[in-house]
Structures are given as structure tokens and as C-alpha cells.
Subunit: 428 residues, 2 copies
């Protein structure tokens, strides 16, 4: 498949009001303001992040929007419409340290442009209310806990866990956010923002190479994958490397190592992804058979039953390899989350918007989590659109997207916003 270019014959008059090139210019402006030679530095709850938000406020100052920060530090811009029912467009201006120039802020800045278009087209009074939200601390880079603002909004934030988080300087999360005017114990009051929310749209750079490999500019995101994350510990017996015959060994590394090809076979059968991200060995010296080997396994799938199958097969394989090698195996769950499928109707709209813009579309799940997953879990119809990442890489200064693809994504995302507004208005 080749990516089609924008077909002028499918363009509506609204394109005269939309300026995707301005979005690119503003993204570059933001990069210059908040990045350095190592990449983006808009880590949440830092002065640079505050500077990025000030930039966003300034860009929105030309529109007649109501602006406020909610109880969790999420920044809202509301353009009142005929109906109180609201279309939410969301993103996150925060980045990881040394991050890419597009991850998170692309959707915020595209949202700015779309609000401008809506304001211009409807002369300040659109049929439904439109709100742009900049979620607080999507990345969790400073405290190791992602989706802070959106999970406070959805009610899924674990306050007891978050209360104890500290950054590398020992500053507690509640103290850090207090410095930004956020009262930790009240963050879930952000849930009031869900009132009248009728749909949520999020545009994001793909954090992998799927669209790149298919040579496609844009894709519809079907949902965020469920995740099963475990530590698996094999225990054998330490023994002298020189004096212990091979057939007498209880080699914990041998059993653990057999899991590496196994997870590729599991994904061959089920789809999804599996990753062994770390391996540690004890005593971990050159002259001893490994007594204890701990690996971590991260498994993801959009389908809950497929994910359960992947987990069961990995457990079964680990027990088989443990038995073969006369070692024991123990599993410990680190974290899990169920799959979050997006809204079928909005997926359809997104598909159409991409097709009308590019002439070709593609549906794919998201392995990484996004704020959209929390919004969807809050019961709000949700969909995401992905734009191709040039190297299939994110969280890195080399993250990039072709400028013609950025223009296309702004156009297609605007089309999606239009279709969604019509859908909300029709339901109202």
C-alpha cells in the first residue's frame, strides 16, 4: 500500500478555516521554548511544563473560551455551544525528559487549531459545546505513575499508592503538586468535568512502527491493550562451574532462558505482544551455576480472552521448563489492566475521516496506554487517531513525523471532530 495524498475534491469548505501549517509552526515554537539539544523537557510539575502551559494559554487567548484548571491540575478550555453536551478533545503537553517534539503536544496543538476552526465556522456559537483538555502528567516521568490527571478524572487513581510516590530528590507527589496549586486529597473532584461529556477524541503520534511498516500516514486506534505484568523467579541450586557435571545441575538461568523464544511462539499463536524486559541472576558470578533467575514479563493484547490465554500459556511453559530443569518457579503479579476497547461508532467516524483525507486507512490497537483509556473507562465514548512515527520510536529526541503527515492528521482529526459534533447534536 502507498499512502495517498490529500484529495482536494474531498475537501469541504472548512479547510479554508483550518491551517495545519500553523499547527506545525506552533509545535516548532513550543519545541524551541521548552526543548534543548537533548529533546523535549516538558516534565509535568516543573517550571518548563508551566512555561509550556503558559504558551498554550497564550495561543488560546484569542478565542472566547472559558479557561480553568480542575482539581487534578488538568487544564480546560471550554467553547460554549448551543447544547451543553460537550465534545472533548484531549492531549498532554507534558513530556518525558529528553522526549520527542510531538508526543502529547501534537494533539493539544491540533486541538487548538480545531477550536479556532469551529469558532470561525460557527461564529463563536457551535451547535454543541467543545472543550480542549491538557491532561496533567500523562507521562508519569517524575513520579513513575502515568495518567495522573486523567485517572483522577476517571476516578481510577489509587490515592494511597500516589500519596507515597517520591521523585528522585525525595520530594513527595502531594508536595510537588501543591506547589502548582493542586490539593492532593481533592484530586478526584476532577470527576465533575465528565458532566455532559458526550465524546472524547485524541490524536497521538504512534509510539511504534506499525504505520511506518505499512507506509500509511494515519490509523484508527481500536482501543488500548490489556496488560499482564509479572515477575517470574526460577530457583535452582548454586554449584561450582568447574566441578558440577552438566546432568547434575539445577540451572535457574537455563529454565528462564527457555522462556525467551517461548514468548515469541505465544504471540505467533495469539497476536499481541510479550516482552521479557529484565533478567537478574544470583549469585551471578562467572564460577557458579545460577541459583536464582528473575525475569519480568509484560504481555499485552486488545482482546481479554486472548490475553488470558497468553498468560496461561506462559505459566504453563514456565512450569514445564522448571520441571525439565529440576528447578522451581514462582510468579508474582506486578500490575495488570484490562483492555479498553474504544467506541464502535467513533471508530467508524475516525475510519471515514482518515479515508476521506488520505484515501487509505488502517485499524490498530495501542500497546501503550493513553489518557483516552481513562476517559473511556469513565464511560465516555472515545476514540484515538494515530499518525505515523518516522522511526517507529518515541520517548526519544529522534522521534519525528513527516510534515505532510502532520498536516494530514490535523485535517483528518478535524473531520473526525466535525462528524462527532454532528453525532452529538443528533443525539441531543
Amino acid at each position: 500500500m502507498k499512502a495517498a495524498t490529500v484529495n482536494p475534491s474531498t475537501m469541504s469548505q472548512s479547510f479554508e478555516l483550518l491551517d495545519p501549517k500553523r499547527t506545525i509552526a506552533e509545535l516548532k515554537e513550543l519545541r524551541a521554548l521548552t526543548g534543548n539539544d537533548d529533546g523535549a523537557q516538558r516534565v509535568a510539575f516543573t517550571p518548563t511544563w508551566k512555561r509550556a502551559r503558559d504558551f498554550l494559554r497564550e495561543k488560546m487567548s484569542g478565542l472566547p473560551v472559558e479557561t480553568h484548571t480542575d482539581a487534578a491540575g488538568n487544564l480546560w478550555f471550554t467553547l460554549r455551544g448551543e447544547s451543553g453536551k460537550a465534545l472533548l478533545i484531549g492531549g498532554h503537553i507534558d513530556s518525558v525528559p529528553n522526549g520527542g517534539w510531538l508526543d502529547g503536544c501534537l494533539n493539544v496543538m491540533a486541538g487548538v487549531e480545531i477550536l479556532r476552526r469551529i469558532h470561525a465556522e460557527f461564529d463563536g456559537r457551535p451547535p454543541v459545546t467543545v472543550r480542549l483538555v491538557d491532561w496533567a502528567d500523562e507521562e508519569g516521568a517524575r513520579f513513575g505513575k502515568s495518567l495522573f490527571g486523567s485517572s483522577a478524572f476517571s476516578g481510577n487513581l489509587d490515592l494511597n499508592e500516589a500519596r507515597g510516590l517520591k521523585d528522585r530528590d525525595g520530594i513527595a507527589l502531594p508536595d510537588a503538586i501543591a506547589a502548582h496549586g493542586i490539593e492532593f486529597e481533592k484530586v478526584k473532584e476532577a470527576g465533575v468535568e465528565a458532566e455532559n461529556a458526550a465524546a472524547y477524541l485524541e490524536l497521538h503520534i504512534e509510539q511504534g512502527p506499525v504505520l511506518l511498516d505499512l507506509d500509511l500516514p494515519l490509523g484508527v486506534v481500536l482501543g488500548t491493550c490489556g496488560v499482564e505484568r509479572h515477575a517470574i523467579t526460577f530457583r535452582g541450586q548454586a554449584a561450582h562451574s568447574g566441578s558440577t557435571p552438566m546432568n547434575r545441575r539445577r540451572d535457574a538461568f537455563l529454565a528462564a532462558a527457555k522462556m525467551a523464544p517461548e514468548i515469541y511462539e505465544i504471540t505467533d499463536r495469539h497476536g499481541g505482544v510479550c516482552t521479557i524486559g529484565s533478567c537478574t541472576t544470583k549469585p551471578g558470578i562467572v564460577t557458579s551455576v545460577v541459583e536464582e533467575c528473575r525475569i519480568t514479563l509484560d504481555q499485552r493484547h486488545l482482546d481479554a480472552s486472548a490475553l488470558a490465554g497468553m498468560l496461561a500459556e506462559a505459566k504453563s511453559a514456565s512450569e514445564r521448563y522448571a520441571t525439565e530443569g529440576n528447578v522451581s518457579v514462582a510468579w508474582e503479579r506486578i500490575w495488570q489492566i484490562e483492555p479498553v476497547p474504544f467506541h464502535a461508532g467513533l471508530i467508524e467516524f475516525c475510519d471515514q475521516a482518515i479515508l476521506e483525507t488520505c484515501g487509505v486507512t488502517h485499524r490498530l490497537p495501542s500497546g501503550p496506554l493513553h489518557d483516552a483509556a481513562e476517559v473511556s473507562r469513565a464511560g465516555i465514548p472515545t476514540v484515538m487517531m494515530f499518525v505515523q512515527s518516522l522511526h517507529g520510536i518515541s520517548h526519544n529526541k529522534i522521534e519525528d513525523t513527516r510534515e505532510d503527515h502532520i498536516e494530514q492528521c490535523v485535517v483528518a482529526f478535524d473531520r473526525l471532530a466535525r462528524k462527532t459534533m454532528e453525532w452529538i447534536a443528533a443525539k441531543d
Copy 2:
């Protein structure tokens, strides 16, 4: 095979002069003096080690031996004979921390008993000179460098390397040994002790389970294995565990893990032993494909060409797995030593001595190094005898040997000493 019991009909009159039960009693005395609930604590260059050597001196004080410490701190007891040609019997009274009660001191105390027998039998004037040596710091427990005293004796000690060694308290090896009267820069003068040395015998507890599995009390050691010790580093690319399709991964752990079953196949083909003792991963986090995986590989074989073959096959496999996984691989040699085959004639004597004592014998290589390897490398005809280890384990307080096996090993080792003395005398 079942272990035979001692056949009284094969016992010579010398047994009336040899008291293996006394050796066991003295070993227990030493254990009480220098061990605790965690095991033996005779770490070289410590007060407990000095106490152990004082104990040894006291036990030897009843014999008309010349006693001195050489330039490397090795402790020598010399019973002058008709000929200056000398039979050396060696061992090491030092232990690892929390070590076993037999590793190292069994051979020293058996040597004491054999010198008593020789003195009694020949009325203080044996046909050849007999010397007992207690090597200094065989274990290398404090400074991480084994065979200190014997490698100074053989001339193989790397002075530049040893000069820089420090213990965990930051005390340098030269300073630590100076406190025991040893001048570091002169340690290789210990080489003068090799003068007139005609043969070297060493008895040791097996540090593995070979004799245990065969249900045999004693074995002839054919030599010490050559060792090839490498670090192998696979390098791929870090990538998000959720967004990177399996077929796009450059997974360094996958390639490294495939080496684990591979080394078992290599030893199936060649014999010998191979061990992957440690595995480290970078970035080593649950949400990233492994970019860099470093494993250590320890390979041992008594046959130099087989060892070279094992190394070549491991390298070839690592390159195959790297290519398969689109990662790179680099090898770095940590250490190597060639195989040290023992003296054919002495192997024969040892075999006979065991057969005469137990009715059954067995030949095996030693995976671990011993002082005997350094003596052999100095050009002195050498052989070792192993006695069964009850759990196949050493360097641990549970290390043990059946008392009837200890008695048998003292008897057989004495027979070996007798045969070797006759051989030396005949050559003289």
C-alpha cells in the same frame, strides 16, 4: 559399581605405623579451633589462619623436621633423607569464609600423618627427602586471586595484577601480607623451593558429585581442566514493550537466552563443562525490549583441542543467534588457562594405590584449579587424589566426607607416597 571396603590382605606392615583415625581426630580438633557455626573461617592472612598454622606447627613439632616459611608465605616442613631428591606433599590450611571442614586441610593433616609414618618406618632417615608444604592463600577468598603461594612458587603469579588487589576494607594485598612477614616484591623467590623437587602429591576432597554418583570413595585426578572464561555482550535496540511488534524487535535477551540450551548441547558433544553464571540486561525495565544483554560463559575441559572446539562452537552459535535476531555480539576474554595434565607415571601409581586400598578406582579430571596445577606447570611430576564429597558440595559448611572414606584416603595416599618415594629413589 559399589565401593569396596579396605581389603586387609593387601595391607602392608606400614599400616601399623599409620593411624588414619588420628587424622580424623586432628581435623576435628582444627575445626573446633578455627571454625564456628557457619563453618571453617581459616581465611588466609587473618588471625584465624595464623592460629591454624600454629596448630600445624605444633602437630609437626614431634618430628625432626626443618621448618621455614618461604618468600611467598608457604610453610615448609622438611624431613631430610638419604637423597636430596624430594617428594613434596602439599595442601592448604586456608579456607573460604564459612567453608567446609576438609577442603584444603585434609591433605595437610594427611601429610602430617604420612610424615609420621615415614619417620617411624625409616627411623628418621628415609631414602629420599620428604617435604610437607602448606601453600599460602590457595582460595584467594580475601583478595579474589587464588593459588597465591603456589603461583609465586611456579613463577606464574602476575605481580602487576596482584599488587593492585584490595580486600573489602581497602587493604592492599602487599600490605596485608607484609603484616605476616612477607615482602611482596620478593614473593617469586619462593621458586628456590622447587630445587630437587622430584614429585608432588596432593590429596583433596572432590568439589563435585562425580565420585558420589558412582558410589566410589576415591579417584585419580588426571589433571586440571583448561578454562576459557568470556563475557558475551549482545546489543539490539531498546523499544517500547507495548508498541513494538514482535517481528520488528532487536531483542538482545532473546539472542543471549538461546545460548543457555546451546551450552548443554556443546558439552553433550565434547564432554567438559560450560556455565552461564550471570546475565545482566539494559535498560532492564519491564516496559522495554532489552537493548543490551551480557552473559558470562565459563568453559572447562581437560583436553586443549576439545576446549578450543567448545569455544569455537559457542562463538559460532552466538553469531548465528545474533544474526537471527538482528543484534550484534561481542566477545571479551575474562581469563583463560590451559589444561594441566598430570604425570602419567604418577597417575598409574595413584590408580594402583586406590585399587589396592578400595578394590575399585576411577579416573576423573578436576574442573576446579588446585595448587597441584601450579606445581605441575613448574615442571614437577604431579598427581592428585580425590576423596568423595558426601553432598558433592564444597565451599560450604555442609561439606562432608564419610569417616571410613577419610580413613581410606589416608591409607591410599600413604601407599601413593610410598610408591612415589620408591620411584624417586630408583631414578636417583
